[in-house]
Symmetry: C2
C-alpha cells in the first residue's frame, strides 16, 4: 500500500472575536501507512459546530483547547478504504469519529463508531441521528423536563439542535414557540416542523414583547441556544418553577457581552437554569436511537441540512454558523459518492 496524501484544516492562530479565514490553514500531509490492525478512513462529510469556537480559546474546559498548528477535531463520517487486519472495521464499513477536519486519516479503531445508516443518509449521523440530535433529546427531556400541555420556547430553532428540540416537544404534547433568523426558517418551522408559533427575531421590534404575545400562558421550558436578548425575553415570561436548559449561547461566543438584566426573575419565579454537555450523557444513546428511529419512520421528525462543498471551504462554513447561514445542520461534503 502506498502512502496517502490528504488535506487537513489546522488552527493557524486563536481567533479574536468573530473567527476569520486567516485563523485557519489548509495543509497537505502525507499519512503514515496504516500499521497492522489499523485502518485508513476517507471522510465523506465533516461537521462544523458552534461549540468548536469555545475550544479555540486557550483555557481549561470540559475538553482541552485546540492547539495551534494541529488539525481541528470535529465530527466526521466516512468509509474505511483500507484495513490492515482490524478485527472490528473492514473495508467498506461506514464510520463516524471526532477525528476532524480532514479528508483521510489512519486509526487503530479505538476512536471509531460503526454507522449502519438505515433509512437515513449517512450524514444524518452528524446531525439529527448524531451529536446534535442527542443534544436536543437529552437537553429537552432530561434537563427541560417538559410536561404535556406546557409551553416550550426554543431559540436557534432552525439550527441542527433546535429543529429537533421543536419536534420532540411537539411529540410530547407541548405548545412550541421557535425563534429563528429568517423568513424561510420561520416558514419551515411552521409548515414542516409543525410548531405552534415561530418568530423572526431579526424583525421583532421588541423580542420581549413578541415572545410575550406569542406565549400568552407564559413559558415553562426554555431551550437556550442563543443567549443575550433571547435569554432576557425568556426570563421575562417564564412561569414559576420553569426550567431553562442551557445548551449554548451562540450570540456570546465571539464577544464578551453583558448578561440578562432581569436575572432576578430566577429568584422570584424559582427558576432552574441548568447547563449541560451532551458528552456527559452517553447512557442515553440507546433510547435516543430507538426513539428517533421510530419517530422518523412515523414521519414525525424531519430535518434540513446546509451543505458546503470542499474541505477548503470548511472555515467559511464554520464562520457562517455565527451569521446563521445554516438551516439545520451545517455540513461540509468531501466526496460525491455518499
Amino acid at each position: 500500500m502506498t502512502a496517502t496524501r490528504s488535506r487537513e484544516i489546522h488552527l493557524q492562530r486563536r481567533p479574536v472575536g468573530l473567527p476569520s479565514e486567516g485563523d485557519f490553514a489548509l495543509v497537505e500531509v502525507t499519512l503514515p501507512e496504516p500499521a497492522a490492525g489499523e485502518v485508513l478512513v476517507r471522510n465523506h462529510y465533516l461537521s462544523v459546530d458552534p461549540y468548536m469556537r469555545g475550544r479555540m480559546v486557550d483555557r481549561p474546559s470540559y475538553v482541552p483547547p485546540f492547539q495551534i498548528g494541529q488539525v481541528l477535531e470535529g465530527g466526521c463520517v466516512g468509509q474505511v478504504i483500507a484495513s490492515r487486519g482490524n478485527a472490528d472495521f473492514r473495508e467498506g464499513d461506514y464510520v463516524s469519529s471526532r477525528s476532524g477536519w480532514r479528508e483521510c486519516y489512519v486509526s487503530d479503531g479505538g476512536d471509531l463508531t460503526k454507522v449502519e445508516p438505515q433509512g437515513v443518509p449517512l450524514q444524518a449521523y452528524l446531525g439529527t441521528m448524531g451529536m446534535p440530535g442527542l443534544t436536543a433529546y437529552v437537553g429537552l427531556l432530561d434537563i427541560g423536563k417538559p410536561r404535556e400541555g406546557e409551553t416550550v420556547f426554543v431559540s436557534g430553532a432552525a439550527g441542527a439542535v433546535g429543529m429537533v428540540v421543536c419536534q420532540i416537544a411537539k411529540i410530547k404534547g407541548c405548545r412550541v414557540l421557535g425563534s429563528a433568523g429568517s423568513a424561510t426558517k420561520v416558514q419551515w418551522l411552521r409548515d414542516v416542523a409543525g410548531v405552534d408559533e415561530a418568530l423572526n427575531y431579526k424583525e421583532a421590534a421588541s423580542l420581549i414583547e413578541e415572545v410575550g404575545r406569542l406565549c400568552p400562558d407564559g413559558i415553562d421550558v426554555y431551550f437556550e441556544n442563543v443567549g443575550g436578548a433571547h435569554l432576557e425575553a425568556a426570563l421575562e415570561h417564564m412561569n414559576p418553577f420553569g426550567r431553562l436548559a442551557l445548551c449554548g449561547m451562540i450570540s456570546q461566543y465571539n464577544q464578551a457581552a453583558p448578561g440578562p438584566s432581569n436575572l432576578t426573575h430566577a429568584v422570584r419565579k424559582r427558576l432552574t437554569l441548568q447547563g449541560f454537555i451532551v458528552s456527559d450523557h452517553p447512557d442515553r444513546q440507546p433510547q435516543f436511537h430507538a426513539d428517533m428511529t421510530a419517530w422518523i419512520q412515523a414521519g414525525k421528525l424531519k430535518w434540513e441540512e446546509t451543505i458546503v462543498d470542499g474541505l477548503e471551504n470548511t472555515p467559511k462554513a464554520f464562520i457562517g454558523l455565527f451569521a446563521g447561514d445554516n438551516m439545520g445542520k451545517m455540513l461540509v461534503r468531501l466526496t460525491d459518492d455518499s
Copy 2:
C-alpha cells in the same frame, strides 16, 4: 375595653430606584375593638427584609404587590395584650406574624404563630430562628447540596441569611469563603462564624481575582444574596457541576443592571442556577427547628443583630439594608419590655 390607638407605616408611593423616606408614611389609626374570638397584639420587634423591595413594584409575583395607602406587611413578633376568648391565644402569649410594620393589630389568630422562645431572645424568631434562618437552611442544604470537603462561597455573608449559611456550611464540613462589605463584618466572619476565608468586597481591586485567590480549588456551591459582580466572580470560579443557590440579588433591586457577562460558563461547566423562595418549603420547618436548636445549644451557631429603635425609623432601617448598614438581622424595636 376601650379603642386602641396605634401607629403604622404605609406605602405612600412606589419607590423608583433606591427607596427614600418620602415613599413611606407614618399613620395614626384607631384599631377596631377585638370581636369575640379575636386578640389584640402589641409588637415588640418588626423585621425589615430586602425581599420587601420587590413587593413595592406593581407586578404579579409569588406574593401580591403592596398597595399604596396600605400598611406594609412584614414579619413581626409581639405579645397578646388582650384576648376575647380566643381558644389558641391567651393574654401574655408571644406570637409572630406577617402583619406588618405597626405597633398593634387585631387578629382572629389565623395569621399568628405562637412563639415559645427557649434559650434565645424573642427577636431571634425574626432572624436566625425565623424566616432568614430557614432561608439559609433550605437554600444551602436543599438547593446548594454541599458535600463534605467542598468549597462554599457566600455573598452577603454578614447578613441575616448569609451568616447562618456560613455556619451551617462549616457544620457540614465545607470550606467557606464569605464576602461582606466592611472590615468589622469580615472580622466577625473569621473570628466568630469561623469561616476559612472572608473578604471585604469594597476593598477588592478585582473581585474575580480575589475570589480566585481565596478559592484555589474552585467553588462547588455559591449562595447568592447579592448579584452583579459577585455572581460574575462566582461563575468564573465555579467547578464543573457546581450549584448556585439564588436566594436574592440585593445589588439589583433598585436598578436594572446588566447581568453577568460570563454566563456561558453555566453551559461549559454544567452549572445549575436555582432560585428559591423560603415560603415554598414549610415542610422543612420542624427539622430546621430541631437542627438549629441543637447547633445553638452546642455553641456552633452564633449571630448578630442590628437594632433600630422606634416605629418611625422603620423606613430608615429598611433603606439602610441596601447600604449594608446591618450586621446580621436588621430589626426595629418598638418596646423596651422584651
